[in-house]
């Protein structure tokens, strides 16, 4: 019995739930005098997995809580399919969410937790059994959640998010506490859900954790938007050609002829050329009669790019 086989049938249980875009516009949130989120705007598209990234304390959870109507923005808006969360009738049929710091009563069984959510959300209680089997917790259905590991709690959260067979999934740090096998399972599960046309928004403070899962990234730091782009754009930024030359001006002029090429000076006196491979740079240098002291292709770590974007390396 594989998880992959389980999720295929269950996830399309009702069908018809189409993903809707998530739109955050000018979102600002002050907690007292602390500015947690500052004029944040981004869009999350259906049919894709979007990573919502930023270091701890960047404002990710606050943004998600604003989106889900738990925290009131001051000012700004966060909508799902153009509607505020409280304007969606029986919202868990449209948006499934799992937030950090969502708790369980330790004395309540997993299946009863799901039944309570299903009942109040206007969802058929039989879905509790379905989603519990989707996340592989059927054997623990009757056990008290107090005895669950962090990984099991994460799975139970996910089961609760899936109860209404929603077109939009909002998951806050879903990989926390999962073992490597669990992370691999989560990855294929989320890819599958997005493949069905659902909108999947996943937050994380570690890019490498979701790097193989996400199509798009929204990166924030200190409440501000840093980047919102397809992951491939970030990946491209990791490839470059390191060049060392005493004739930097001439080389830059020579490379400027080619479209999409950038030259970024580095602290150690070298430059990194992006948008051209080592052969192209070498050829350009030869044509322009530029003397080279070093020429090599380099790939930087994606996590390093992420850290430099969010300022995590310096602050």
């Amino acid at each position: 019995m594989t998880h992959a086989a389980q999720l295929t049938a269950g996830a399309v249980a009702s069908g018809g739930s189409l993903g809707q875009p998530v739109e955050v516009v000018g979102l600002t949130k002050m907690f007292g005098s602390v500015l947690a989120v500052d004029d944040l705007s981004f869009t999350v598209a259906p049919g894709r997995v979007t990573g919502f990234l930023g270091p701890n304390g960047a404002g990710k959870t606050t943004t998600l809580r604003c989106l889900l109507g738990l925290v009131a923005p001051t000012p700004g808006s966060a909508t799902i399919g153009g509607k505020r969360y409280d304007q969606i009738g029986t919202p868990i049929r449209t948006v499934g969410s799992a937030l950090e710091a969502t708790g369980f009563h330790p004395g309540r069984s997993a299946i009863n937790h799901l039944r309570i959510v299903a009942r109040s959300g206007g969802v058929d209680e039989r879905r509790a059994d379905v989603t519990l089997s989707l996340v592989g917790l059927t054997d623990s259905a009757g056990r008290s959640v107090g005895g669950f590991s962090l990984g099991m709690r994460q799975r139970l959260q996910l089961a609760a998010a899936l109860l209404g067979d929603p077109g939009v999934l909002v998951l806050d740090e879903p990989a926390n506490g999962l073992d490597p096998e669990g992370i691999a399972w989560l990855r294929s599960f989320l890819r599958h859900l997005a493949g069905e046309g659902r909108t999947v928004l996943v937050s994380s403070h570690v890019l490498s954790e979701v790097e193989q899962t996400v199509d798009d990234v929204v990166i924030i730091a200190r409440g501000h938007l840093v980047r919102a782009c397809p992951l491939t754009e970030l990946t491209e930024a990791t490839h470059g050609v390191v060049v060392r030359t005493p004739q930097l001006a001439e080389l830059t002029a020579a490379l400027a002829a080619a479209p999409g090429v950038t030259v970024v000076p580095q602290a150690d006196g070298s430059v990194v050329v992006r948008g051209a491979d080592a052969a192209a740079v070498g050829r350009a240098a030869l044509t322009a009669q530029v003397e080279l002291h070093e020429l090599r292709a380099a790939t930087s770590d994606l996590e390093q790019v992420f850290l430099s974007l969010t300022g995590g390396a310096t602050s």
Binding site: T8, A13, L68, I92, G103, H105, G107, R119, G122
Partner: protein, 265 residues
């Protein structure tokens, strides 16, 4: 295992979905049973001590040979209100303590509906405690009374006390939910309730009955038609019931207003 057969239609509309969800919250953990045991023990002790306690010459409590005294004995069956207000407060503060409020509000973002459903559910739980209290209390009273010299109680009084006990416990449970909404710390809420109900209110009702009869506990004494020391009487049944309803409505409104825009983090 074929997963296709386990798939169920997703949407379902059974009307009091929020109230029934709240009731399942209560019955899916063991606390309500523990409190029910408390109700039974508390009322058993109340009835037994009321029958067997020696007469206190200085402090003229009505005796079992008087109609007031026999009413007071049966009014002990209304003791479930204390447990009702506590379980109501626990029901609300637990959501904060275990952080289940988030999933509650994700299912139903309209907070007034959630608060209203919780109050309705706890009214049912409180009234059930009241009913069990009446059954246990009456059974014990009728079993033990033949051991003592006593007068008979009218059937009307029995019905009045039973009705008052059930309604009173239900309303006190709603008051508990409101207190839990306002005093969000669980321990503070429970301690506050115990100090108020068992100490402050008892003192005011006993020594300043003209003020005390207007307090929730004094109003309940009116509903149960008890007679205090030295023949003190409280509000008539309908008056007591109205005062109790008034407190419940007031607290429920304040509770609803304060939760409306509060951030849940």
């Amino acid at each position: 295992m074929s997963t296709a057969t386990t798939s169920a239609p997703v949407s379902v509309e059974h009307r009091p979905r929020l109230v029934s969800s709240e009731l399942l919250k209560v019955t899916s953990t063991k606390m309500w049973l523990g409190m029910l045991v408390g109700v039974v023990i508390f009322i058993a002790i109340g009835i037994a001590s009321s029958i067997f306690a020696p007469e206190q010459p200085g402090f003229a409590q009505p005796r079992l040979t008087t109609p007031e005294g026999i009413r007071n004995l049966f009014a002990n069956a209304g003791g479930a209100y204390l447990f009702a207000i506590i379980i109501g407060a626990l029901g609300m503060t637990q959501e904060l303590r275990h952080q289940t409020l988030t999933s509650t509000l994700l299912s139903e973002p309209h907070r007034n509906k959630v608060t209203g459903a919780k109050m309705a559910a706890y009214f049912v739980i409180g009234a059930f405690y009241g009913l069990i209290g009446v059954i246990v209390g009456y059974a014990m009273a009728f079993a033990l009374l033949p051991l003592k010299e006593h007068t008979d109680i009218s059937v009307t009084a029995l019905w009045q006390i039973a009705g008052g006990a059930i309604l009173g416990s239900g309303l006190f449970a709603v008051l508990g939910v409101a207190v839990g909404t306002l005093v969000r710390n669980q321990i503070a809420a429970i301690l506050g309730i115990l100090v108020w109900v068992l100490v402050i209110e008892q003192l005011v009702v006993t020594f300043l009955p003209k003020i005390g009869k207007w307090l929730p506990g004094g109003a309940l004494a009116g509903v149960l038609q008890t007679t205090g020391a030295n023949g003190t009487t409280y509000l008539p049944i309908w008056g007591g019931a109205l005062v109790l309803l008034g407190y419940t409505a007031l607290f429920a409104t304040v509770a609803a207003l304060t939760t409306q825009r509060r951030d849940v983090t």
